[in-house]
């Protein structure tokens, strides 16, 4: 990238690192960090929405709705999450192809499951075989995001359900005494107050979500782990530069990245806790009130 990189003398100097770390393959590596951030940016709000829905459903007065909410939040107990990731990716993929198959090719007579094969008509292939590479990649990424959102939505559901139960009962009773309808009590009293109780659990889930992002690699996405392996390995197809096995250093870089990311998140979440404690009927809120009065 730099002008001095064309000069062979730089090979023995420190500037060589500047040249090495800015070559084309490394920019692809840096771009793959965006994949991680994109995953986080999409998954966090979606799984929060799923969790909110699940928690609200768990409190519903209609029994079937309550059962759905409880089953969903109980789903993630007892089984390693990576199993869910691997399971859902395949299930969604097959479900989409199956549904499209039923719509696009209604006159198809052969069974879809033939022994070890899952056969649908060509028009139902998702994405189409002739589609450009980026469509395939985007489809895989979308499946991964959806899977993450489902699993982490169940975590959030657990936390939000607990937070809703932690809001003092007297607050809700007061609202009812003022003649609010159940929906009004929920939206005006319960929801604004529950966040401070949910925050410790939610910040925990956020840190866990950060630490779950390298699992994207297992789902076949070209993320930072993929590129670290490709660039660090001594003979890989994606990277032609001959060098010894440097994967250790690349993974060390990833480790530092994750540690820094975790630390920054912790600091931000601590500040958010202070903000949300404002005016709450908790110990932290009471301390803020006293400090402001003094």
């Amino acid at each position: 990238m730099f002008g001095f990189c064309t000069d062979p003398d730089t090979l023995s100097t420190l500037r060589w690192f500047a040249c090495y770390l800015t070559n084309g393959a490394h920019f692809l590596f840096y771009q793959s960090f965006l994949v991680v951030f994109a995953l986080l940016a999409i998954t966090a709000p979606v799984s929060l929405a799923f969790g909110f829905g699940a928690a609200a459903a768990s409190r519903a007065r209609i029994a079937p709705l309550r059962w759905i909410g409880k089953t969903y939040t109980a789903m993630v107990r007892g089984v390693p999450d990576i199993v869910f990731f691997l399971f859902f990716i395949l299930v969604f993929d097959q479900a989409i192809e199956y549904l499209r198959h039923r719509i696009v090719c209604p006159d198809w007579t052969e069974p879809i499951r033939q022994g070890a094969n899952f056969l649908v008509c060509d028009a139902a292939r998702t994405p189409q075989g002739a589609a450009p590479q980026w469509v395939h990649e985007l489809y895989g990424f979308a499946l991964a995001v959806f899977t993450y959102a489902i699993v982490f939505g169940a975590f959030c559901g657990n936390v939000l359900y607990g937070a809703m139960r932690a809001v003092p009962r007297a607050q809700l009773e007061t609202a009812e005494a003022y003649g609010m309808r159940p929906a009004q009590v929920f939206w005006r009293i319960l929801v604004p107050q529950m966040w401070i109780y949910a925050l410790p659990g939610l910040s925990n889930i956020w840190l866990i979500l950060i630490k779950a992002t390298p699992l994207l690699f297992l789902l076949g996405i070209e993320d930072i782990v993929f590129w670290a392996r490709e660039l660090g390995g001594s003979r890989t197809s994606a990277y032609q530069y001959p060098h010894p096995d440097w994967r250790f250093w690349y993974f060390l870089g990833l480790l530092v990245f994750y540690l820094a990311f975790t630390r920054v998140s912790e600091i931000v979440l601590d500040r958010l806790t202070v903000r949300l404690s404002h005016g709450q009927a908790t110990m932290a809120g009471e301390e803020q009130r006293r400090a402001a009065r003094a």
Binding site: V76, P80, A154, P214, R247, L255, Y258
Partner: protein
């Protein structure tokens, strides 16, 4: 082929005994259940050993983090942050790459002692290398739990110990340690469950499964790839893990009852099992 024969052929396949070739075509439900169950041996092996060694180290780490001495406190704090702040997945990768690099370094330093080179090669194998990573990881997580409990030991307990004239090691062993364990045990139970769940990452991340001797997820994934049908192997794996989780809850619950046996019934700490969580 009856299921009994399958059990004889594949029951210990994950350890390298029995039939060499994995089933390829016409995979039966029995074969899937037996092989995935065989893989569970590895999950239990990693979980039990890492937890047992990790418990001792975690107590030491928690005490070091609580220490007044800078030289003890800082390294313990950094160690805990290092292993809790980064993904276990990356830790496995990094450890594997480091262990693979070891022999060259070892030969350079030790001038080619045969025992040393043989030993350093074992680090790159899952049974030792992954165990070390899991041991360090669970130590860090458990140390944070124990540290929190240590800070939460009631002041009255310590004053009572002082009143009885207990000091130093005796005070720790008779008062501080039992109370810490009692307070930490529900959290530590969750940690144990997560650790067993984390063992599925061993063969899936970096450590190669030598001669296809893998853990439960390795075989479940093998079947899902072979049959292209996720609805059988993954639920089997889930059933095994739920059974394992119930065993852990039962065992740790028994210890919890023993730790709390002197307290009035309403004051006893209940085990609250949280949903599992990736590390």
């Amino acid at each position: 082929m009856s299921c009994w024969v399958t059990l004889q052929d594949y029951g210990l396949r994950s350890l390298g005994y029995g039939e060499r070739l994995l089933p390829r075509a016409d995979i039966t439900l029995c074969e899937q259940a037996v092989l995935i169950g065989s893989g569970m041996i590895w999950n239990v092996y990693f979980g039990v050993l890492a937890l047992s060694f990790g418990f001792v180290f975690a107590v030491a780490l928690a005490l070091a983090k609580n220490s007044d001495t800078w030289l003890l406190r800082k390294p313990a704090t950094w160690f805990i942050f290092l292993f809790r702040g980064s993904p276990l997945f990356i830790q496995f990768f990094l450890a594997y790459e480091a262990f693979v690099l070891l022999p060259r370094v070892g030969i350079d330093i030790n001038l080619g002692f045969i025992e040393i080179t043989a030993e350093t090669r074992w680090f790159a194998r899952a049974w030792l290398g992954a165990l070390i990573v899991l041991f360090l990881n669970t130590s860090a997580y458990a140390a944070e739990i124990f540290y929190g409990a240590l800070r939460a030991v009631p002041k009255g307990d310590l004053e009572a110990a002082d009143a009885y004239g207990l000091t130093g090691w005796k005070r720790f062993r008779r008062v501080v340690f039992p109370t810490t364990m009692r307070l930490a045990w529900p959290g530590y139970t969750n940690e144990a469950i997560f650790l067993f769940h984390a063992t599925v990452l061993v063969f899936f991340s970096s450590f190669p499964a030598f001669q296809q001797r893998g853990d439960a997820l390795y075989y479940a994934n093998y079947f899902a790839d072979r049959t292209f049908n996720p609805f059988i192997p993954y639920p089997i794996l889930a059933i095994y893990f739920i059974a394992l989780t119930l065993c852990i809850i039962w065992g740790f619950g028994a210890i919890n009852r023993r730790l709390n046996r002197h307290l009035p019934v309403e004051n006893r700490a209940r085990l609250r099992i949280r949903p599992n969580i990736i590390r």
